[in-house]
């Protein structure tokens, strides 16, 4: 965290509601944890920001790393350091020039991917 490389990584920076469910990525029907805003902002194990990657097979979800464990979270319920549309192509999308300089709308859905 704090390095130039870390700044380029996709990160969950905020939760949109009062709380967000964390799912096991193998079974998205079951919520494993429910994380509140205070837990995300507090000093505990759910403290954000969370490193995230797109989940190619489940476009509506992002895979997040929370305290070393991997979970899945619904994308529209969180705020990332750069807006990420829900597309299956997004998993393979790498920012041009090493950094995604444009927001999602400027980029368009699927646009800007190699």
């Amino acid at each position: 965290m704090g390095s130039a490389a870390a700044a380029d990584e996709l990160q969950i920076t905020n939760l949109r509601g009062n709380s967000v469910d964390l799912f096991g990525c193998d079974d998205l029907s079951k919520s494993v944890w429910r994380v509140s805003q205070s837990e995300f902002r507090g000093p505990g194990k759910f403290r954000g920001p969370w490193p995230a990657t797109k989940e190619p097979d489940k476009p509506m979800f992002l895979r997040v790393v929370v305290n070393g464990d991997r979970y899945c979270v619904k994308a529209y319920l969180v705020e990332a350091n750069t807006p990420v549309p829900a597309t299956s192509a997004g998993g393979e999308c790498q920012p041009k020039g090493g950094k995604q300089s444009k927001p999602a709308f400027s980029r368009g859905v699927g646009e800007g991917c190699r």
Binding site: V78, P83, V84, A86, P103, F105, V109
Partner: protein, 573 residues
């Protein structure tokens, strides 16, 4: 020989047998009837206005672009489930209720003010519970302003009403067909039951608002409680800046290039690719928080619909290539927000009460133009009308003729330069051509009657703008008819005068052949097209009483003079 006027103009001494043409009164009635009939056919029922409609629409679009407020655009958003979203979300068709529930939750998370859902959830697929829960949640977020498209089938509608009672209100998403070649779309403001859009006289069943009206009721003042008049939707042809960011839109072309494309392929071929209404896709909505999505949804009216190839729910607007049907509702709502209760009313058929006003305007204006032209051939006031714009010097002089030619060339060069500058929009090019023709007729040809006709039509258009919709199509159409009528009657008049001269000069029956014995009926059948007060005989044919027409100019020369005189050309014989 002097003139022998009504009843039944007769010229004796130099004609054999005496020439008998219909009286002035009969000629006026027959000529007026013919022009009126032609006008009715080409203007009122079909024809000229029909052909001009798409061009008029191009002009109207240009006007709309300039005057249409953007308050509606700022309050309206389409959330679109695109065909490609199905692939991107690895979803099948039809979209599962589970996925729809996620969309509702995502919309709710951005806090809209009102939502219309252009999907009909008619089937019980077993996963209705999550859908219903998310819909009820959204219903509470929008404080009851959640509207759901009702199916056209009565039983299914009743079933939906039962399923979603308390969580959504049903509206009729019945769409009117577009109106003719103009592609102008009208919008039904509501229906009684699920029958076709009517004027609201049959009130036996429950009234259902259309989506736009339902969404606007709490937001726009002055909407009729039930059965408001149908709307003619105005479509600005500009593209939303938001859409331009992420949709593949056409590059902007110059007005002349677009006009050339229209001339080559048709006036309505040049259309925008990207919609006017702010749009986000489901992929944007279901992605992580996006400030652009927040900006266009929070506190706004959201229209959620689909763009699936299989659904076939498309509309072709005058300014855009075919769009998903949900845009029709969004644009109708936009019109209501932008124009309030003064939204543009749809033209009504002439036989539907109370559209007699429209018919009266059409027929009245037509009758006025016919009377203006026919009467101008007989009445002395037509000379007075010409006086303010007719130079004292005789028009037949070389100086006047060269003046006209020179100014015409200057005008053509000016119009060509303006059009060729590339600065004008295609509609502005059209306006320039129309203005150029008007300038030519009034300023160079000094055609007083054309000026009067223009003023007449313009006043009618301005006075009746709100009620009768006399737009550019009608203005140009009526003036084109006026010009056409003048040419037609001038040709008929010239033919009649040629006949009269033959009658005077070719006196032997041999020259007439088998027609010799038909001279009586021919006198009446052909003579009825003579225009103007008549004098005749002594190889002068039948002349107009107007002093300036005392010398024979013939039709070609008369056309140069603008107002058609009453004289004819001596036939070669």
């Amino acid at each position: 020989m002097g003139a022998a006027e009504d009843p039944g103009t007769s010229f004796g001494s130099s004609f054999h047998p005496p020439l008998r043409v219909p009286s002035r009164g009969v000629r006026i009635v027959v000529q007026s009837a013919l022009l009126f009939l032609v006008g009715m056919v080409v203007l009122v029922f079909h024809g000229l206005k029909f052909d001009l409609t798409p061009w008029s629409q191009v002009m109207m679009n240009d006007i709309v672009d300039r005057i249409y407020p953007d308050s509606g655009q700022q309050d309206t958003t389409v959330v679109l489930f695109q065909e490609k979203n199905l692939r991107e979300l690895k979803a099948g068709y039809p979209v599962s209720y589970e996925l729809q529930a996620e969309v509702f939750e995502a919309i709710a998370s951005y806090g809209p003010r009102a939502v219309f859902i252009d999907f009909a959830f008619m089937d019980d697929r077993g996963d209705t519970e999550h859908l219903l829960k998310s819909m009820c949640n959204l219903y509470s977020i929008v404080e009851g302003r959640l509207f759901l498209a009702a199916p056209l089938d009565d039983d299914k509608r009743a079933s939906m009403q039962k399923t979603f009672r308390g969580c959504a209100r049903l509206v009729t998403a019945l769409m009117d067909p577009d109106t003719g070649v103009s592609g102008v779309l009208t919008y039904c403001t509501g229906t009684w039951g699920l029958r076709e859009c009517e004027e609201g006289l049959d009130r036996r069943e429950t009234f259902l608002d259309s989506p736009a009206v339902a969404m606007a009721r709490h937001h726009v003042v002055g909407i009729a409680p039930e059965g408001a008049e149908r709307m003619e939707i105005l479509w600005p042809s500009t593209t939303s800046e938001l859409n331009r960011k992420w949709m593949k839109c056409d590059p902007e072309e110059t007005g002349v290039r677009r006009m050339l494309t229209r001339l080559k392929h048709g006036p309505l071929e040049v259309k925008e690719e990207c919609a006017y209404t702010n749009t986000v896709s489901v992929a944007h909505l279901l992605g992580t928080f996006d400030p652009d999505v927040e900006r266009v949804i929070r506190g706004k009216a959201v229209f959620y619909g689909a763009s699936f190839d299989a659904a076939g729910d498309r509309v072709a607007s005058p300014t855009y290539h075919d769009l998903p049907g949900v845009y029709l509702h969004a644009m109708a709502y936009d019109n209501l927000v932008s124009l309030g209760s003064s939204y543009k009313r749809a033209d009504r058929a002439a036989w539907v009460w109370p559209s007699w006003r429209s018919a009266v305007a059409d027929i009245g204006l037509l009758a006025a133009l016919v009377m203006l032209w026919v009467a101008a051939g007989y009445a002395s006031w037509s000379r007075a009308l010409e006086t303010p714009v007719t130079p004292e010097e005789p028009r037949g002089s070389p100086k006047t003729f060269i003046n006209q030619v020179a100014w015409t060339m200057v005008l053509l060069a000016g119009v060509g330069a303006v059009i060729g500058s590339g600065l004008l929009s295609e509609a502005a090019v059209l306006w320039t051509v129309v203005a150029g023709y008007w300038g030519y007729k009034v300023l160079i040809r000094q055609d007083g009657l054309f000026l009067v006709a223009s003023a007449l039509v313009a006043v009618a258009a301005i006075v009746s703008f709100r009620v009768l919709n006399l737009g550019p199509r009608n203005v140009v159409g009526y003036l084109a008819f006026f010009e056409m009528a003048r040419h037609v009657t001038a040709h008929l008049d010239e033919a009649a005068r040629t006949y009269v001269r033959f009658r005077e000069t070719a006196t032997s029956d041999r020259a007439w052949g088998k027609w010799a014995r038909w001279k009586g009926p021919l006198d009446r059948a052909i003579g009825v097209w003579l225009r103007g007060k008549l004098e005749g005989g002594e190889h002068g044919g039948v002349r107009s009483a107007h002093p300036r027409d005392s010398h024979d100019l013939g039709h070609r020369e008369r056309r140069l003079h603008g107002i058609g005189g009453g004289s004819g050309r001596t036939p070669d014989h």
